[in-house]
Symmetry: none
Subunit: 401 residues, 2 copies
């Protein structure tokens, strides 16, 4: 069941305001069995106050046992079933650097590599060439022209960059050219279907010209392309929820993901403090606000338990400034868990609290992993969060008579 | 996954008896945060005794966040996925007045309206003409004849009535004729597909003759038609569950819904007391009994918290007479929540208790919203209730070897 088939038909507009505060990688684990998680360790008086008024649950981003990347994690929170809507690797890489993908775009992730005199790959990552050097090479690749196709070449980091092919009717079903091992030549970009032949041909021409330009570069004299992908064509927040939605995120990846869902990226905040300022100043202009806080994830990935605890407390301190705006519905959750114990994203349900007048408060009193799975929302798939938010905002009519 | 694909194959018959007691709109909300709901406020010693022996859960009628009407709410309890089986508006209106829709029927909801000398609608509801007057007009419309189509014209209330077209092969995909505003003429009934052309033509002829009959009526000289819909063709309880099922309901709507699922409507009870009498007298004749109690919903819709509490206590007092019949499985639940706080149906999970010898009792001790979502059934979609009932009645074989 696609929930949008329901929300599209049932949506009704009103004056309510919904805030979705996403602490990236919020969920955690204790360092030893029976211990406390990062969230359970943190002093969070303001989040606990939300819990006392709200309803809690354990949010399952994709399905039990499935660890999501940032793309599927956010799609799920935004209400797009991540097993149905897939953002191809190329599109995600472009989105991650803030490239605004259009409906006629196919993006590919590229690696600078080195090939020997026989044309066989000797280093698939060109010695992880430093970003300033690879950016200079990217600059030179911008001279490439392909008849009938607009090209964009954008640096990412070290050996990684993105090429976007833009032309009406391009499809993204093209084989990777990276053979995934050294000692062999890069593969040709081969179309897997008819509508992708033009994309493959454009990629072939791009690669040929790039090899000429790079021929005498000592560190990176070749490139490979992977993950050809179109714009994922998500139906917009306006269409499926009737919401004018704003995204307040510091990192390009999350701004890009929000843009794919039709949200307006607002402000130029660089800190949580500035994000909340933007929230307050844009308050009259939107119905829905996605506020993204990155550092609960990055400390988790660093294995920095104490750091993650501090970041959670930093977030907690900001809550009163959000509640002062009197949102009709306030949700605090994460796109996945990132336990510092694992130094990585994980599959564990994400502690979630939803506060609204008619939310039917449960017995939870503090914000934590073990409390939340006992909460009134139980454990639930992320794709149900938006319907719950809309219901609590009075924005969904009755289904059937 | 359609559960009927499983139950159909696994069903086995035995002497067990299942009672599904539906307190319409049972779930509620506290009037203030942290307070008690209607059910938590009510003194329910007998329901609490069931809870102590039974297993509890929070039933989600459709999907999280979705508020069901009575149709989808009951379909879900009866085990028909309400997103898969839809009862069109016309069919539901006919069902609601107790009209027994057959497989060759298309029903339309009609409004008496008034049109001015130019034929433009001046009042879409004919001044909400009193029911006795509109019933007299309905009586006159029964003279209408359409070649090859049997017609039924039935009063509902005030300006509302129902027309049923009966002929083999009629389809229901016909546009509404109500333009939804005044100052313009009613629309023509237009078929949206080939099989609906005959229905549209019959509707056109009906309307033309009706306008002649009504021409000199001062209050209602015209009509509009909406929500053309066929019989929803539910597979029957006998076919999908192997159950001889009886419905004991006071209101025509619920009798009609039960009939759509192939239940036999038994008795002419007008009170809960009489319903339980019918239950006892029909006990040997059926395997499954649906008993519908309306007033928990109507008090909720009136915003009458204390009234809803009293109605729940009234229901509670009747429980010993049901348990005295020694049902193999007794379920008490609702088709949706109707918190008096909201004065409307809502999306909140419905407190549910299932009592049977092998139910695996949980820690719940009182019947309430917050207790139930902590129960052994957790939160579950309504369509799983019937499989659980059958399992507890020993009526489902092992799946696979």
């Amino acid at each position: 069941m696609d929930m949008h088939d329901l929300t599209r038909v049932l949506l009704q507009k009103n004056e309510s305001k919904i805030v979705l505060l996403v602490a990236d990688g919020l969920g955690g684990l204790p360092l030893e069995p029976g211990g406390k998680t990062e969230l359970e360790t943190a002093q969070t008086p303001h989040l606990d106050a939300l819990v006392a008024r709200g309803i809690c649950g354990g949010l399952i981003p994709v399905k039990p046992g499935i660890t999501p990347g940032s793309g599927p994690g956010h799609l799920s929170l935004f209400g797009y079933d991540p097993t149905q809507y897939k953002i191809g690797r190329g599109a995600l890489e472009a989105t991650g650097i803030g490239f605004e993908l259009g409906p006629n775009d196919v993006a590919a992730r590229c690696n600078f590599c080195t090939v020997d005199a026989q044309g066989n790959i000797s280093d698939r990552r060109a010695g992880r060439i430093p970003t300033p050097e690879s950016s200079a090479l990217v600059e030179r690749l911008r001279d490439i022209k392909v008849e009938g196709v607009e090209l964009f070449v954008e640096p990412v980091k070290e050996h990684r960059f993105v090429v976007v092919f833009r032309a009406e009717g391009l499809a993204g079903n093209v084989e990777d050219t990276d053979p995934q091992r050294t000692g062999v030549a890069p593969l040709d970009p081969v179309a897997r279907d008819e509508p992708s032949r033009r994309t493959a041909e454009a990629a072939r021409q791009f690669i040929a010209q790039a090899r000429t330009i790079l021929a005498d570069q000592p560190k990176a004299n070749c490139l490979t392309m992977r993950g050809f992908a179109r714009h994922p064509h998500l139906p917009s927040y306006e269409e499926v929820y009737g919401l004018r939605a704003a995204a307040i995120a510091v990192y390009p990846m999350y701004r890009g993901l929000a843009r794919l869902a039709g949200m307006q990226v607002v402000g130029k905040a660089q800190t949580l403090d500035e994000q909340v300022e933007v929230l307050a100043s844009e308050w009259p202009n939107y119905d829905f606000f996605f506020v993204h806080f990155k550092y609960t994830d990055s400390t988790g990935e660093d294995g920095d338990f104490a750091g993650k605890v501090r970041r959670i407390e930093e977030l907690d301190a900001m809550i009163p400034r959000i509640t002062a705006l009197k949102p009709t519905v306030l949700i605090v959750t994460g796109d996945h868990s990132t336990p510092s114990f694992l130094r990585a994203h994980s599959w564990h349900p994400v502690p979630t609290v939803l506060v609204a007048d008619a939310c039917r408060t449960d017995a939870c009193r503090t914000f934590g992993e073990r409390q939340c799975v006992q909460g009134g929302l139980g454990q639930f798939e992320g794709k149900y969060l938006m319907p719950l938010a809309l219901a609590n905002a009075g924005r969904l009519e009755k289904f059937g008579a």
